[in-house]
Symmetry: C2
Subunit: 221 residues, 2 copies
């Protein structure tokens, strides 16, 4: 029987490649995307909707706007805090972190997976050139998998197949799988084009450059 | 320095006693209550608001109505499914289970605790006379604590001090602490009075009876 997984899909490079990767491994998939009040939510969601439509994968978008007030004091959900530019570094990363974001998304994904009688939830955590987010580390993914094993009568799985890969590895795998990177979104600013200057845009550029692959992204600068 | 904890407060006997219990241990507390579209949400929230006001504990109520659609097919969030009457048993418990509810609440509670620079999240899981909910078991509480230890740069704690207690033990402890049980809410039906017939009302009655304590609850029947 085919394994069945809910993929947490932001519409960025990592989660989009994750969707293609698990599809290539034979998984039956559904996608869960979240609007939790983040500034770039509109662009992310537009790209992920388009992707799921093309792949004929059911997507549910859940509104978690109520979390924004609770989770104030960070640049993704609080319009009063600017998006930092330049490379990720501990000080600026702090600002772009929604506290405990991945645990929240995994927990909700598991809820949906349980109600679907699916087996797993997958998320696109990966290693970075710089200090990783705490909730993207292998020990976090492992701890969540262990919690998922006992959170319901049926042991659920948490999949994070890219957790030891860097973004370059993901882009390389994505090219092999034919991921339409031009229709993925990374930028933390929610403007018409990628800004090309924020930490995630710089990471994005470097992932293509590292593989000597043409970057299909339309940058402002 | 005082330990600081976010208490997940439903307004029922268990979480209300938990609040008093941690307060008696010297914790600085804030309360997080959630409206995730459950039928009895109105009564629960009214009681928990009143309690927090009296204790001068800050309470935040987060709206997770968007989860209801995702988590359909259960009697707490889906008006089309009836509330089962009589003792909890595996078949009826299934209906009153919001999948993975405790992991979701703990994850959001940790997010708030991290942003507050608090140390812990506490939830009122306890053992039962009947098959417990999977996400109320000691191994679940332990697994969530381990995940909390690595979900952020600062290790967070998950507290579940009642996890091996039954409801009778909690009521006994609550009496010692002066918990105003008349202002707690258990019933899964959201009417003016406790119905006295659903599984949680029966558990409530038995917890008082077990301790030979007067039950201050105003039941319909």
């Amino acid at each position: 029987m085919r394994e069945k997984a809910v993929v947490i899909l932001s519409g960025g490079i990592d989660s989009t490649t994750l969707l293609y990767h698990l599809r290539s491994l034979g998984y039956e998939l559904k996608a869960m995307s979240v609007d939790y009040g983040q500034r770039h939510g509109g662009r992310e969601l537009a790209f992920s909707r388009r992707l799921c439509k093309e792949l004929q994968i059911e997507q549910r978008v859940i509104e978690l706007g109520g979390l924004a007030a609770l989770l104030g004091n960070n640049s993704l959900s609080d319009p009063a805090v600017g998006v930092p530019e330049g490379h990720y570094e501990p000080a600026t990363m702090q600002l772009t972190t929604v506290p405990n974001r991945n645990m929240i998304l995994i927990a909700i994904g598991i809820a949906w997976a349980v109600s679907l009688k699916f087996d797993a939830v997958a998320f696109g955590a990966h290693a970075g050139q710089y200090t990783p987010y705490p909730d993207c580390r292998p020990n976090f993914a492992e701890a969540m998998h262990r919690a998922a094993q006992v959170c319901d009568w049926k042991p659920m799985q948490v999949l994070a197949p890219f957790v030891t890969w860097d973004k370059g590895d993901i882009v390389k795998r994505g090219f092999e799988l034919g991921v339409p990177f031009g229709f993925t979104w990374s930028c933390y600013n929610g403007r018409e084009k990628h800004c090309g200057r924020c930490g995630t845009c710089i990471d994005r550029k470097e992932a293509f450059a590292k593989n000597s692959l043409a970057d299909p992204t339309d940058y402002e600068a």
